[in-house]
């Protein structure tokens, strides 16, 4: 059942590596093209290995395969070998292949998903019990369990939060809890999927500290990332993943300027926004405004800040055709709330919203949608059709009659999804789902384009498409309002950057 004569090369790496993978191919059930092929990877104790690649390059699939989340045979067909601590397992994609025991495997190789909430059991009411969940399932005696929970909490800085309900944690705290759930088993190898995504500066420092401590203690860490950021640059070894296969591997210094890395769409934070995006001419100031907000006031019932002031107050904004306005501000300042007023999903308590000179009061959101396109933070909620093409065509016939099909094709072309017209939207990688949602908005040719955090999760190719789509919309005379936490992106893209602060907008 175990090794059938591993190659000498694999045996050599296995002698120093705690985990070695030789992936011939891995395909999900029912799919013809393999999700992964021809990847060799070995993880040495105490070394940070970074797997870099753009969106949809197969990073997550690789991480889950290494950690026993995707199990050969159960999740898909795998040919190749996995060698953990010198014990090789050969897979030939047949029924009598060894079957990985996920419970035992994961005590050696831990995986922390990008969506930290997916790690949690959802059935434990405190952080401490959530941490103990894996230990309980393995029958760890209670005294050892208490000690292990305390140690993992101390390592991840969760000690003060042990009695909190996991559902009330912030994004950064949740990420550390998910990491603690893996660390509590004291694994030899830890696979981290985009561990810094959507964390604030403080959260990033804490997670990087933790990773340093883990490698210092001899844990092999595998970083999956679509950004060659500081953490990735501190890695001892890089593997570049493109289209499910490893196109290059070596030390960061040699690969950072390689053509292989450039092709993948991996973000290089230092250079991404150095060149300003293609930005059209500034709009003509005398043109009639497309979007006007007058004295807007709004607060959620039962909330309001310390002084009982509403979230938005006396907010004024005028956007002319072809103008791109970026709105920045801290979390909770009301940026998304403001955007939802533009198409009537929220109605102001005071003041008025005018689109193309007409007030939208009393008009249902579904009708305002003809002139205002809103892209949400979570694209999945916005998609509901069976194929990408049907998704883009939804509701177009009523607006554009015979032009509907051409407009849908055009919008898909604009975001680079023309080749995926018959794919199921849910089978697209997250960043392409976001681009598809953008296409559904573009296809309607709205006069106002409102984008909520459009850059999150996009790789460089995705950002290029987004930039071009925004510029094209502005060029045909649409007003673009985008909300972002990324100040550099805001400056590079917009004609005007406004800060939402204290309930109203001011020049940023």
């Amino acid at each position: 059942m175990t090794a059938t004569d591993p190659t000498t090369a694999a045996a050599a790496t296995a002698s120093t590596a705690v985990l070695a993978a030789r992936i011939g191919s891995f395909s999900f059930h029912g799919e013809r093209t393999p999700a992964l092929r021809d990847i060799d990877l070995s993880v040495r104790p105490g070394v940070l290995t970074a797997v870099l690649g753009g969106s949809g390059s197969g990073k997550t699939t690789l991480g889950k395969l290494l950690a026993g989340w995707h199990r050969p045979g159960q999740s898909g067909t795998f040919t190749g070998s996995l060698t953990l601590a010198g014990q090789p397992l050969e897979f030939r994609g047949l029924e009598d292949d060894p079957r990985i025991n996920p419970s035992a495997w994961s005590t050696r190789v831990g995986y922390v998903p990008q969506d930290a909430a997916a790690m949690l059991s959802t059935v434990r009411s405190t952080v401490a019990e959530e941490l103990a969940f894996g230990l309980e399932n393995r029958g760890t005696p209670r005294r050892d369990m208490l000690r292990a929970v305390a140690r993992a909490a101390e390592q991840t800085g969760l000690t003060a939060l042990l009695d909190r309900d996991p559902a009330t944690l912030s994004g950064g705290e949740l990420r550390r809890l998910a990491m603690a759930c893996a660390v509590v088993q004291d694994p030899w190898v830890l696979v981290l999927d985009e561990p810094l995504a959507s964390l604030d500066a403080a959260g990033i420092i804490q997670v990087r500290d933790l990773i340093n401590r883990l490698t210092g203690a001899g844990t092999g860490v595998v970083l999956l990332s679509q950004s060659a950021d500081g953490l990735a640059r501190s890695a001892g070894h890089w593997i570049i993943l493109d289209g499910g296969t490893a196109t290059a591997s070596g030390i960061p210094r040699e690969l950072i300027r390689s053509a292989e890395l450039a092709r993948t769409g991996t973000l290089l934070p230092a250079v991404t926004h150095a060149v300003p995006a293609v930005r059209g001419r500034a709009p003509e100031p005398e043109a009639a405004p497309v979007l006007e907000l007058f004295g807007l006031g709004f607060g959620y019932p039962g909330t309001g800040d310390a002084d009982g002031e509403p979230l938005l107050r006396d907010l004024e904004l005028t956007v002319r055709p072809g103008e791109i306005v970026a709105i920045t501000g801290p979390n909770g300042a009301g940026k998304s709330t403001l955007l939802r007023h533009l198409n009537g999903l929220l109605r102001p308590h005071t003041g008025e919203v005018r689109i193309q000179g007409r007030s939208i009061a009393g008009i249902p959101t579904g009708r305002i949608a003809a002139s205002v396109g809103l892209l949400f933070q979570h694209p999945r909620d916005q998609l509901f059709e069976r194929t990408v093409l049907r998704e883009a065509s939804f509701g177009l016939r009523r607006l554009h009659g015979r032009d509907a099909a051409a407009r849908a094709d055009e919008a898909l072309e604009a975001v680079g999804l023309a080749g995926a017209a018959r794919t199921h939207p849910a089978e697209l990688p997250a960043s392409q789902q976001r681009l598809l949602a953008l296409a559904t908005v573009l296809a309607r040719g709205p006069a106002v384009l409102a984008l909520d955090e459009p850059t999150v999760g996009l790789d460089r190719h995705g950002l290029d498409r987004l930039d071009r789509a925004v510029a094209a919309a502005a060029a045909r005379g649409a007003a673009v309002v985008l909300v972002t936490h990324d100040a550099a992106y805001a400056r590079a893209t917009a004609h005007r950057v406004l800060a939402l602060d204290g309930g109203s907008l001011r020049e940023g």
């Binding site: 026993g68 999740s75 997916a118 009411s125 059709e385 607006l399």
Partner: protein, 254 residues
Amino acid sequence: MRMPYTLHPLTSLTAAGCTAVLTTAAGAWPLSLAVALAAVLLAVRAGAGQQVLVAASAVLLPLGLSLLMLHGLFFPEGRTVLAAWGPARVTAEGLAFAWESATRTGACVLVLLLFAFTVSTPDLVAALAGRGLPPQFGFVLASALTLLPAMAGRLERIRAAQEARGLVLRGGVLSRLAAVRLQMVPLVLGLIEDSGSRAEALDARGFGAPGPRTSYRQVADPPAQRRLRTTLLLITAAAVALRLVASWPAAGPA
């Protein structure tokens, strides 16, 4: 939410279950009414009065009206006719039957809701697992109870996102059916996809592994409450046996 005095979750479960069975076995409306009132009082004292009453009325009002219409107007077995319009006859026996049925069900519903809204789910799950019930049962129970309240928010997000894409909700069964279909697909898809990665996470955290388990959470179970549970179970068993024996001859083949 919690009771002023701490009951072990199995004690409150046993108490609620036994009370419901005893009320059913007794089949006497004064007892049913007393049990129902007691349940409401306890719920109010525990601070869950409103929740229990809202949930109970959602169930009991349609049931009560249905029983009143059914037995109040049409009860062929009835002999004491109080009023008659064509085929409909109001009979004393029919009204009594509706009253008996409604009070019995009402008592059981209120007692069980009192339990459901005052018990601490984590304690209950820990207690059940400690009694050798498969941990899977506790998982399904706790997971469903955490998922359900989150659904309203999720549906609202989907609806908002779809309206922003030009979905107009109109009257008419057909167009509403179409709208419901569009909402269902992302909801079902999202839930099933989430559960796929949740299964992988649970397996990685040893949930699928066989063998003994331990518990981090400890629930105090004083001996007095154990004795109380045993007593309650014995009384209930005796009452059920008595009822079965007493009614057996009367329940011969029709």
